[in-house]
Symmetry: C2
Subunit: 310 residues, 2 copies
């Protein structure tokens, strides 16, 4: 039942996204349509819907645009990330950057950001502030990540700060604003926010693990693309540099070498344990909400995030 409602809501989100990018400017229309059509897991719109339902909301109509806007923030950052990472494929399809070139990818990302802002206008100040703050944090997280990658300086604390900003912030904004639109009280909003924060951390840690050990076919993108910027760098700092200095393999491709060593270093196991720990906190936060089918779905999302292999 809740599953059906959410499924219908996600179809409405897709329709809304297609509508919203119907620019007269052909390149923007095509490039935006391309990245939107390539799908993705739509985790963030699901969070908007489930938080809204768990907080007592009924018909999803009032939150469809919000859910679409949250997804579009994420989409815009993907388009810009792919420029910075020189990525050629994403979700099994060619990236906007690879297909339309850097200039148009940059403009497409800007266009999507502007469309978010346009879509959110009717929701009023409180909701605009929540999503704007999350977008600022997301960009801050990306910047810290790029700075860490450049300097080669990444410790566990920096890594946590980065993933909180670049991933958890938008998860929190999704659930908080969804709950608020259902008229939830402050405790409910807080509990859902804490759930989402920890789900976001779990999601990103698992994402970084998959980046190291995942199957490129399932992932739809080259494995390891983010590794130097994410937990890879942490593991690198923590252990690999030592082993590296003594193995006499300096002449192998240093990137390949790092990937092999990451897999063998135990860093992935540590990360898996951390993912379990923050997932536990997400679960605990959920228990502060009254039982409901939507709460069950939110709990199910934790398992999906932990178990995903792509």
């Amino acid at each position: 039942m809740v599953k059906d409602v959410v499924k219908e809501g996600l179809e409405a989100v897709d329709a809304r996204l297609r509508d919203v990018v119907a620019s007269d400017v052909e390149i923007l229309h095509e490039a935006s349509g391309h990245i939107i059509a390539s799908g993705g897991k739509r985790v963030r719109p699901q969070l908007v819907f489930l938080a809204y339902l768990a907080a007592g909301g009924e018909k999803l109509d009032p939150v469809v645009s919000l859910a679409a806007a949250v997804e579009l923030v994420h989409t815009a950052t993907l388009v810009h990330d792919d420029i910075n990472d020189h990525s050629l494929t994403r979700r099994g399809a060619i990236t906007v950057h690879a297909r339309w070139g850097r200039t148009f990818a940059l403009l497409t990302g800007d266009y999507l950001f502007a469309k978010v802002y346009e879509m959110m206008a009717p929701y009023g100040a409180a909701y605009n502030k929540i999503l704007a703050d999350a977008t600022v944090e997301l960009v801050e997280g990306e910047t810290l990540q790029a700075a860490a990658a450049k300097s080669g300086q990444m410790d566990r604390e920096t890594y946590k700060r980065i993933i909180a900003l670049k991933t958890a912030s938008l998860f929190v904004a999704a659930t908080r604003s969804g709950a608020m639109l259902a008229g939830a009280d402050e405790e409910t909003v807080e509990a859902l926010g804490e759930y989402a924060y920890n789900l976001g951390l779990t999601f990103q840690i698992v994402d970084d693990i998959l980046d190291i050990v995942g199957d490129p076919e399932k992932m739809g993108k080259p494995v390891g693309a983010d590794v130097a910027q994410g937990m890879g760098a942490v593991a690198f700092q923590n252990g690999i540099r030592r082993s590296n200095s003594n193995d006499g393999q300096e002449e192998r491709d240093p990137y390949q070498q790092m990937m092999v060593q990451l897999r063998e270093s135990g860093a992935v196991d540590v990360a898996r344990a951390e993912a379990q720990e923050v997932a536990g906190r997400a679960r605990a936060a959920l228990r502060r909400l009254p039982a409901s089918p939507a709460r069950n779905e939110l709990e199910g999302l934790i398992d999906l995030v932990l178990e995903r292999d792509k």
Copy 2:
């Protein structure tokens, strides 16, 4: 008197902009601070203030954040433009792109866009929509320009559409929202919007002329940087290609050659006449407002825009 009020308002805008970019993330703080400190003409905040005053507004406090947000939209696009154009200097200073590199310039632009959205949240739906729509149009204009530059296809109509989208839209948003915040009636808002639209066209045509004939020292940037994308391309389409095919100078630097020929082709004179014409429309729109010191200042802006040499 009005001049003093506006001057004070612009100081408040600068203070607001400095506040707003005080990120914990050092690179974002520094790069944003750099582009903001490099100044610029602050034409857009002036338009917000003068429209507000011409429409009967008094103390500027309620429009300072709006004026800052409008300027920040412009600033964000400059940072991204400089990436796409590979520009090394802007307003006499090094560009964000040249100093911090492409990745951080891209993120700085995104950060500034997100800050606009954050700053605008308190103004409510109508104002958010106006600025969001203008931002969408601005990005559409930039995209059409990049597409025209790439294809070499630019006619007068395309050029007009581009400058209306990329420059006039934000001028219109500035005056309309400024007037609305003063409680102006629909006719006043319309008259100020029409003034701003034509002032925006004038501004951009003059900008493109300066790009061809300006003094690089005064401009604070290399002259001709935008030329292939702007009216240069129009002139090129209209006349220069013909002369070029017969002058036997194919071996000179084709860019230098194009610049020389643009100066000699009469295209600049045509553009000057066009600037005068649209400036006349801006003047006519102003006459629909009651006389006031602020209206005089708005009229003065037309002359400043027409006469500027940098």
